[in-house]
């Protein structure tokens, strides 16, 4: 009897121990093997787009879910990464000494100096990370150092998104204005019109998402990650303990900006356009909505939310072209009202509900993520 219980415990603890890796591997297989086999090139391209948003969602999961920083301006960083990539692709396409097409019709005669270094692929790739990273780092030092937080921080990031869009639109000769940058035919040797190359591009996006997920997971599990959660739940206490919360938050915010930048850079070849319409207040809010729908307290929830919300957007708008926005809005309200921990928290909610009905305490084995949720609630 006793031995049986020990064996059961061993199985249970093994299940907990291996659950994460098994789920991760299953999802990886689904994305890298099943999806390319089952989906048409068009659907696969859409999935690649959802995965780009999922990459950006990882950063929001870190900054908002773990760090409590409600960032409503991720569009800015998404845009910086996207434009850095798009500038390189436009120049590669135009060829040496030539101007990108939109400059020709905008009346620009010589290539602006800021564009010149983007001819180099390594420079463009570096800028995909550096531009959003440095912007967020400087902003973070400035804002968190002055102890700006909560709604004030949210409003500030939102204002930044609005200002960024106005600036982009106003600089037509430099940025393509409202049209943005579009009409790309190749991406580092991949022909974007070719179905095989599209599949390769999709795999690149999926692998980048997987690697970033692992990296962010590592950050969350590290001492830094614990400190970040501690800052979220009691910033002043952390300060009294001798840590600098501003620095902790700045680093998390910078990481989230970098993930948004990488997402933007991959979005450009996948979707074929980057324009201010993608970066403003509304798209920035949508990034956050997606994370809220999926469940902001875990990185997996953030990823799931981004994929679900964007998949829903496509599906609803294809089936109900005239009223799909109402449907999406209703769904969002329903999730917020009935599943505040997001879709990924529903299983936990059900378990708690059943446990409550049986009049028992919650199960003894509680995964770490659930503990955090408890702390935040």
């Amino acid at each position: 009897m006793r031995r049986l219980r020990e064996a059961a415990d061993a199985v249970a603890s093994a299940a907990v121990r291996w659950r994460g890796p098994v789920v991760f591997v299953a999802v990886a297989l689904l994305l890298l093997v099943a999806a390319p086999a089952a989906l048409s090139p068009f659907r696969l391209e859409l999935l690649a787009k959802y995965l780009c948003f999922a990459i950006a969602a990882l950063g929001i999961g870190l900054a908002w879910g773990k760090g409590g920083m409600l960032t409503l301006g991720q569009g800015v960083f998404f845009g910086l990464g996207g434009y850095a990539m798009a500038m390189h692709l436009k120049l590669a396409e135009a060829g040496p000494g030539q101007l990108p097409d939109f400059m020709v019709w905008s009346g620009v005669e010589t290539l602006p100096a800021v564009w010149e270094p983007f001819r180099q692929p390594w420079f463009a790739l570096l800028m995909v990370v550096v531009l959003p990273g440095v912007t967020a780092f400087l902003l973070g030092l400035l804002v968190f150092g002055r102890r700006v937080r909560g709604a004030y921080f949210a409003i500030l990031t939102q204002a930044l998104a609005a200002a960024f869009v106005i600036w982009l639109v106003g600089q037509q000769g430099l940025t393509g204005g409202t049209n943005g940058l579009t009409n790309f035919t190749s991406f580092f040797g991949l022909d974007l019109a070719d179905e095989n190359d599209q599949r390769v591009l999709y795999s690149v996006v999926a692998v980048v998402l997987g690697l970033l997920y692992l990296a962010f997971r590592q950050v969350v599990a590290s001492r830094f990650g614990r400190l970040l959660v501690a800052v979220r739940d009691g910033e002043d206490r952390v300060r009294f303990l001798g840590y600098d919360p501003a620095l902790v938050k700045t680093v998390a915010f910078t990481l989230s900006a970098i993930s948004a930048g990488i997402a933007g850079a991959l979005f450009v070849p996948v979707v074929g356009i980057i324009s201010p319409a993608l970066l403003g207040v509304v798209p920035s809010l949508e990034f956050v909505f997606a994370v809220a729908v999926g469940g902001r307290y875990t990185l997996a929830g953030a990823v799931l939310g981004a994929v679900l919300l964007n998949y829903g957007k496509t599906t609803f708008s294809e089936h109900y072209a005239n009223g799909w926005l109402y449907l999406q809005g209703t769904l969002f309200i329903a999730v917020m009202a009935y599943a505040p921990k997001g879709v990924i928290g529903v299983a936990g909610q059900v378990r708690d509900f059943v446990a409550a009905r049986r009049g028992r305490a919650a199960p003894a084995v509680v995964p770490p993520a659930r503990v955090e949720e408890g702390a935040a609630a």
Binding site: W105, N179, G180, E195, S203, S317
Partner: protein, 414 residues
């Protein structure tokens, strides 16, 4: 419960996932045998699908829904008379949501999933620029129904609205004939106004006119007192207005506040049609000139028919406008080209399109095969107090489209 160190957990996860990622990419590249030719219209049944892709939500919806309506009207009419090459047209309506990447996504969806024979859609230049690579990549056709800034000629787009030499240049000719020498340019800050103004400046240089000011405001801008003060200070003979959307409401209301009259300083607009007049209020616009190719009041039996049919389908209070008419024409032009080619294949339609002509509400409209634009009659109108537009000048006949203004010596080097 045994405690597991974080390092070991992560190492295990990393090991498993690395193995799978490698295996996964291997598998993925294994099965990359190409399936080509997935794009292509499905015309096997007794219906043929066509895409209708306009913004049904967002800021552009107010304008684009009217074009969608007139496209659907044309499809109904054609179906009632037996369809195209014996097949009924089945429209697939998609929402571009005033968002340029969405236009590209939905265009691809119409081509790949619905296998449409042709797509009618777009309004803003940005949406057209976003869709252009999709149609070129798939070698499928788009009919684009709105006047635009020219300097474009995609092999897979048919432009059924005016290019610059059919709207802006005649507008300038009209101002010149009226003796207006000093012109002030006001526009929204995006590609159409900027390109249009570049052309206007060249024209002015060659025709002894003087540009006394040039102001751009962001799309959706509503504070015009500064701009209007600048206009008043510069004392131009006329204003050339390329503002788009809501901004016009604010601009004309604030302009009237200063007491400047249309008779003394006319404001020639190229983005205000009947639908927009209703939005701004005819009071504010009465007496102002506009440049288009079609008005609801354009004379002719074909237009009487069109206006009556539109009102019968969508309501007696509805108006018809130039982009709506161009959208409506698009469907008929496509039908005529398909029938001439006796094929739905885009390349056959392109080959057959030159010289295809229809009797449209605006008069005779003919496709120019070389540019895939259409011959259109230019018309200058004046807004009436009842909100309709009365034609005051028209070109002697349809003008040949010249998107790059090659035949205008003053436009060299644009």
């Amino acid at each position: 419960m045994r405690k597991i160190s974080l390092g070991r957990r992560t190492a295990r996860l990393a090991a498993v996932s690395l193995a799978v990622l490698l295996a996964g990419t291997g598998c993925a590249s294994d099965k990359s045998t190409a399936k080509t030719g997935s794009a292509g219209a499905d015309t096997s049944g007794d219906t043929v699908k066509v895409g209708v892709l306009h913004s049904l939500s967002g800021t552009m919806a107010i304008s684009e829904v009217t074009v969608k309506n007139s496209v659907l009207l044309a499809i109904d009419e054609i179906n009632a008379k037996g369809g195209v090459l014996g097949k009924k047209i089945q429209p697939v309506v998609e929402d571009g949501a005033s968002d340029w990447p969405t236009f590209a996504e939905k265009a691809q969806k119409l081509i790949s999933n619905d296998k449409v024979a042709v797509t009618f859609g777009g309004w803003t230049s940005a949406s057209r620029k976003a869709m252009l690579p999709v149609f070129e990549k798939n070698k499928q056709l788009l009919f684009y129904p709105v006047q635009y800034e020219g300097l474009e000629s995609s092999p897979y787009i048919f432009y059924t609205g005016a290019t610059t030499n059919q709207q802006i240049v005649p507008g300038l000719d009209y101002l010149k004939a009226q003796g207006k020498k000093k012109i002030f340019l006001v526009g929204s800050d995006y590609v159409f106004p900027r390109t249009a103004n570049k052309i206007i400046k060249k024209y002015a240089e060659a025709n002894g006119m003087q540009i006394v000011g040039e102001e751009y405001t962001p799309l959706g801008h509503t504070e015009y007192s500064t701009v209007i003060n600048k206009v008043a200070d510069a004392k131009p003979d006329a204003v050339f207005n390329t503002l788009n959307g809501d901004s016009n409401v604010a601009f004309f209301k604030q302009l009237r506040g200063t007491g400047i009259k249309a008779a003394d300083m006319p404001v020639l607009s190229v983005s205000i049609a009947e639908e927009e007049v209703r939005g701004i209020g005819a009071d504010y616009l009465a007496g102002q000139p506009v440049a288009w190719n079609y008005y609801q009041t354009t004379e002719g039996p074909r237009n009487t028919e069109f206006v009556a049919a539109y009102k019968a389908k969508y309501g007696a209070d509805k108006v018809t406008s130039d982009p709506m008419e161009a959208g409506y024409n698009s469907v008929y032009l496509w039908k005529a080209a398909v029938e001439k080619a006796n094929s739905f294949k885009p390349d056959d339609v392109k080959k057959a399109c030159d010289g295809v002509s229809i009797d449209a509400p605006e008069g005779k409209v003919t496709i120019d095969g070389a540019t895939q634009h259409v011959y259109k009659t230019a018309r200058i109108g004046v807004v009436q107090p009842d909100g309709l537009i009365k034609e005051v000048w028209a070109s002697p006949g349809p003008i040949k489209p010249d998107p790059y203004l090659k035949e205008y010596p003053w436009a060299q080097g644009l």
